[in-house]
Symmetry: C2
Subunit: 339 residues, 2 copies
DNA sequence: TATTAGCACTCGACGTAATTGAGTGCTAAC
DNA sequence: GTTAGCACTCAATTACGTCGAGTGCTAATA
């Protein structure tokens, strides 16, 4: 069957209406609301066709129709194409002056959740293959050494390493020089046994200390249990269709146990700079099969990226969400690439 | 009226039973369950007395009784006294080897939530009056300076300060020396205008840079929006009496908007090293008036403390909760004071 | 041929009894 | 002081009737 112009108009009218009300929409409503000037009977015939095409479904006989996943998909695809250039004018309230990365991200999640009324989550970028730019050791007191590591992209990590005595000033200087000479420009994989061996030989009497420090560095750099922040998870209670018995609980659980979500968010890789929409059953996570998930990728710099996602009911205000996300992406870009 | 031994036994039997089932408990149940060997009629008479004393209430005529806040209070006080020395043997799975503080705390919250099946939250200690122990400036690349500040208690803060040119090595050394000379041992309040003035004069040509750095330091130290982590917030869905319509939503909202909770958790100060129990209406926060909140204070070192809280239904397994908290407190003590 | 009006039919939602059963208080007997 | 028995209460559950939004089909109309 052909999806002609009129059918399309009716479909979008149905979807729009359903997004607003959350109630199945009947032929009479469309007949009155839209500017098609058709009787409800005609609409009924068309709706019957649309149902046959799998774009809308009836929750039960003698109820109105609601969009199917396929119907949403059509609508979203259309909208994405249409809105390609348009930018929503939401004022993002990120006051991002040199705040820490995770503060910015938390704030971003909050902004998104507040302005869309859906639940949002954002993952912290991974620095899998970051190189060491700079290492600094300092004796802070008689029993501990502070070790600061700066990675490409000015990611700073620091840790305390215990030691058993106070080192003379020149020893510290020497160790610093050594560490930087041997480790600068290397990433984690490249710090192998031979490098460590060399360092230890060179350090002679401080070889044990060097071991401790290297351990600390390694541990600190590996410490990348893909972190994520969520916000507005209680928003899902605003949508009755998600609020049924078990569903909301499962969703909240999934949001709290961010693991699955982050996995999903990374699955797609960073190829796509664009916006991804998963509708209902398209959703790879069981708990979210009654929802729509919209994700966008932001880039801190080449190869360092994270994702931000919005989770809401199928009847999500797609236009607003996409607009908000686009806007936020450009804000984040501005913040991260301002230098 | 006198609260004799038999009444007490009946009361605890009622409470225990209600903790298990969540249903109002009737005279017949007690008559059968407990080892008192009394008929339900006798129990009824006693229950009538207990009700008169305000220790139990009837949700409605012809329903069983449930403990009132006062009844819980009696029970908890008894239990706290009884269990004073006893330590629950929960194996805390904190593998705390030199992990970062916030990782430990997050983990602690999770352990508590998992093992009790209630919601938990933990606040990150504040370092309000911490003194600067050590400051280190390093030029990382031509346009940025890394500033590391170590506070009493080995709290490390760091930040990047932009600068407009590469500084000569000896300038950096001089600045470092200056900063440490002037700022060491001071806390935030003590870094006043006169100190800053002196520093800037001393720094002569780098006076602008010094300003930037001081700003960064100040900002970084002030950055103490009492943080908190929550875990297991979805657990509250396990208790039907909290799961009613709006209640759960409000609770979740309160848990997400940690602000109120952290306020509460700090209100009490750090005088009490012990365990606090707020039952129902005793709860200072509106949203939690249907819950019991149990808090405990942990100490990182003198004057640096945080609280951990467990939020659950009134019918909380008080013994388990108190045991678990006591145990965790001692674990944390072990971790923080091992050196 | 496409559109529309009209009508019978379906089925969830809602409101109002009727029924059930756990539990109580009271009284009289033990 | 304790217990058995009985009448009473009341939330919860079930059953049932009504309502109305919405459909599909058919016949009339443009």
């Amino acid at each position: 069957m052909e999806l002609d112009d009129r059918k399309l108009k009716i479909l979008t009218a149905i979807i729009r209406n359903y997004l607003e009300t959350g109630e199945p929409v009947g032929s009479r409503t469309i007949s009155k609301d839209s500017d098609l000037n058709l009787s409800s009977a005609t609409i009924r015939n068309e709706m019957s066709d649309l149902e046959e095409m799998g774009l809308i479904v009836q929750p039960h006989t003698s109820a109105g129709r609601i969009p199917s996943d396929k119907g949403y998909r059509l609508y979203v695809d259309m909208m994405l194409k249409e809105k390609e250039e348009e930018l929503n004018n939401l004022k993002v309230e990120l006051n991002a002056k040199s705040e820490k990365l995770d503060t910015i991200l938390k704030e971003a999640a909050k902004v998104i959740a507040d302005s869309t009324n859906y639940a949002s989550m954002i993952t912290v970028p991974q620095y899998r293959s970051k190189k060491i730019k700079f290492i600094q050791l300092t004796q802070v007191d008689y029993s501990s050494i502070l070790c600061v590591v700066v990675l490409d992209g000015n990611i700073i990590k620091n840790m305390m390493v215990p030691c058993d005595r106070e080192l003379p000033q020149d020893a510290i200087l020497k160790l610093n020089l050594m560490m930087n000479t041997f480790l600068q420009g290397l990433d984690m994989q490249e710090i192998n046994v031979s490098v460590m061996q060399k360092l230890r030989t060179e350090a002679s009497e401080y070889s044990a200390l060097i071991s401790d420090i290297l351990d600390a560095v390694a541990k600190c750099l590996e410490e990348q249990g893909v972190e994520a922040y969520t916000s507005g998870s209680t928003n899902i209670f605003k949508y009755p269709e998600l609020n049924e018995s078990g569903k909301a609980t499962n969703l909240l659980y999934a949001l709290e146990e961010k693991k699955q979500l982050t996995e999903l968010m990374y699955k797609e890789g960073d190829k796509d700079r664009g916006i991804q929409v998963y509708i209902g059953e398209e959703n790879p996570i069981e708990a979210t099969k009654d929802c729509t998930l919209v994700t966008a990728t932001y880039h801190l710099e080449d190869g360092v990226y994270g994702k931000i996602g919005i989770l809401g009911p199928r009847r999500m205000d797609y236009e607003k969400v996409v607009g908000t996300l686009r806007n936020l992406m450009s804000e984040l870009d501005g913040i991260f690439h301002k230098e």
